[in-house]
Amino acid sequence: MRRTLIAVAVSASMLFPTLGLAKTFKWASQGDILTLDPHSQNEGLNIAANLWVYDPLVRYNEKFEVSPALATSWEQINPSLWRFKLREGVKFHDGTPFTAEDVVFSIKRAMAPSSQFKSYTAGIKDVKALDPLTVEIATDGPNPVLLRQLPVLGMMSKAWSEKNGTTAPQDFNKKEESYSARNAMGTGPYKLKSREVDIKTVYEENTDWWGKPTKTGNVTEIIYTPIKQNATRTAALLSGEIDFVLDPAAQDLDRLRQQVKVIDGNEYRTIYLGLDVNSPELKYSNIKGKNPLADVRVREALYRAIDIEAIKKSVMRGLSLPTGTMIAPQVNGYTKELGQRVPYDVEKAKALLKEAGYDNNFEVTLDCPNNRYINDEAICQAIVSMWAKVGVKAKLNAMPRATFFPKVGNNDTSIYLFGWGVPTYDAYYSLEALIHSKGEGANGSFNYGNYSNPQVDKLIDTIKTETDDAKRTAMIHEALALFAKDFGAIPLHDQVIPWAMKKNVTVLHRADNRPVVEWIKID
């Protein structure tokens, strides 16, 4: 009897050679993956999950350099034309070959009116297939950040999409659910196995993946479960039911550090205070007929009155990187000098305010979201009390993000707390949206304080198309330095986002808050 059992076991293990090596990676965060469509819902977790199934043309390697994925090489034919050579022999999960037609289809799909990934196709004019393994992307004018836009754009199968009637991302005008919202089929390292909305989503390893020979991780199955409650998520990790939590609650971190493992890293998101520097009169202030924030001395005073180290210590529990600039260290264009803050100085702040004529008589409202950034409302509360010490009476107006964003989006604010992430890892993304004067397209689209400096605008316009890296980076430095000298906004800190996991799990932290499962090792 025993012998037959052994025989069965041995033959079974020969049938399924990976059985003994199966490594299941169970993990959780607050919300569910929203949709499996790779070009709908521009949200961090969603992008991360869809990139397990759908490969991009190029991706970031462990050192955050752009490296080959479905494209093995690329060259710039002229400043506004790129040519990509595709990887040979890549197959979709259904066995069909991956070709240039699929690339053309996918990028055009991401440019469709119902796509929410249009910010990643910005500047792309046309895509053409030259032969089955060569693609050309034409941009409207030189686009130095093209390669940094592509790592987010997953490649779909044209045939599969056409067969299932999902050639465009979810369109809310149509009353039908799009097929690609619950089904996924790409060339990526993992295949979708099952999906129960809000309950769990299971992926299994794609053993034919082109990157398999060089894959560093050993996860063969991914089970993702959303767990909304902070306490429950922590409990599930402590009890060993899950291996990894993307967003552990701040109050649980000490305990998690002792009992399991926590790794810290900063997010590419910079938190700052935006200021209405341009209105003739502030919308929410007691000062009528003029705008105190138009005076650079007042802005400097407000900056100097903030004790950022105190905020780091008591509000952020040590988990923030105070900064003096609008971009995080990982972003191209950052330097240590730019990151240096103007020192905290209450006396100087008081003196500046007095000089500007606002000695204990300036009242203003500070708009603040209360469920978007880490401890957002608490940061604002701290700032209100710090400003009170220099005689500025700020009224805190905290609200949920669904109310906050439309409000500040209409420039209906005087001072507001904002956070800005840089998915392209290039400062142009921030310069264009936050610092450039309001204008065409994305220029100044998030410049709610209407900061405007023609010299800075000119620099930004050149940065947009400059293809000489050294020159371009120097100009980024110059633009950011000018903005800092103008006190165009008050940068506060870069968020630190800890990830918690079991001791036997090795993960590489990423500033975009996206776990890359093909790099994860479970011992």
Binding site: G31, D32, L34, T35, D37, S40, Q41, N42, E43, P113, Q116, K118, S119, Q170, D171, F172, N173, K175, E177, S178, A181, R182, E196, V197, D198, I199, K200, T225, P226, I227, K228, Q229, A231, T232, R233, A235, A236, L238, S239, G240, E241, N371, P400, R401, A402, T403, F404, F405, P406, G409, A433, G441, A442, S445, F446
Partner: protein, 329 residues
């Protein structure tokens, strides 16, 4: 009888319309789903386009009218969060909530009833006092705290029971049930106990006080005088007469259990309608919120109606009364 039911059904429609209207007025203040859908990097033009597509630019009453017209045809629209049909989403979540609620109600009855009888009969016993003190805790401790405590003890320290989710489920038609798998039962224990604790305490206290009242009545004294066994007196006569108000309250509570399962569902990540609703609120997912509120008000109205009908079944005096008034119509 028929007229009575019909009248109640018409009232029900009125209640649901009122709930939907109130909901729509409130939706104006939950914020703008478009911002969340598009991410904060979208341009104002993209936002406007999507807002127009979703009909969010129209006045409240026009939106409300469209909602009613579609809802009557059974179409609750698409969830803004997941792009799926709201009716399908709710149908997927309904079994989880109902199984949890019914399990909690059953625990409340099976545990609360005998304990209530016990504490009434042994009024001054130590155990009775302890049970009453416990029931006070059950009534006053908030559900989420009980849930988290249970998780801490049974999942984290002892490792006996899972802390979240519903476990493996089996599909029977569109109904997914966790009652046919071992893992499903394991996952059900903690949330069902959490949800039922308040109800256990309520039933216990209700049965006790009703029982004490009944035990004081003349017919019980008379039964004692006749020399009936204690068993026959307590369970044959006293308990039976205690049950009428208990049934009423439990019926009404069932609606409450379903509606207030929200907290328990969030704590245990139980994939039911309550969790769906909470997530919808955070996303400002208007179609889901509207459909959920209508459904819950419908369940409440339905349960009220059934309880009213139960009265007639249980209490013969009312039947006579209805017969008379029914005759006058």
């Amino acid at each position: 009888m028929f007229v009575f039911i019909l009248r109640r059904l018409i009232q029900a429609v009125g209640v649901m319309l009122a709930v939907a209207l109130l909901a729509f007025i409130l939706f104006q203040y939950v914020g703008d789903p478009v911002t969340i859908m598009l991410g904060q990097d979208a341009t104002p033009a993209e936002r406007d386009l999507l807002r127009t597509q979703l009909g969010l630019n129209e006045p409240v009453f026009v939106q409300f009218y469209h909602f009613i017209v579609n809802a009557v045809q059974g179409d609750f629209g698409l969830s803004l969060r997941q792009g799926q049909k709201v009716s399908v989403l709710i149908r997927e979540k309904l079994p989880a909530t109902l199984e949890l609620s019914v399990a909690a109600a059953l625990i409340a009855l099976v545990v609360g009833l005998p304990l209530g009888v016990y504490t009434a009969l042994r009024r001054n016993g130590r155990l009775s006092q302890a049970l009453l003190a416990f029931s006070l805790l059950g009534v006053s401790l908030p559900t989420f705290l009980i849930g988290i405590l249970l998780i801490l003890v049974f999942s984290v320290y002892l490792g006996w029971l899972p802390s979240y989710g519903r476990g493996d489920t089996i599909r029977i038609g569109w109904w997914s049930t966790g009652l046919l798998t071992a893992s499903g039962w394991q996952h059900l224990v903690l949330p069902a106990v959490t949800l039922s604790l308040f109800q256990v305490a309520l039933v216990l206290r209700l049965v006790r006080s009703e029982m004490l009242e009944v035990l004081r009545t003349d017919y019980i004294k008379f039964a004692r005088a006749r020399g009936l066994t204690r068993r026959a007196i307590h369970f044959g006569h006293a308990l039976k007469n205690t049950l009428v108000p208990v049934i009423t309250i439990m019926g009404l509570q069932l609606g409450g259990i379903i509606a207030f399962a929200i907290v328990t569902e969030t704590v245990f990540q139980w994939p039911g309608m309550g969790l769906l609703f909470i997530q919808a609120v955070q996303f400002a997912d208007i179609p889901v919120m509207a459909a959920y509120l209508c459904l819950i008000s419908f369940i409440f109205v339905l349960i009220n109606l059934s309880v009213d009908l139960l009265y007639f079944a249980v209490d013969p005096r009312l039947r006579v009364g209805l017969g008379k008034s029914g005759g006058s119509h």
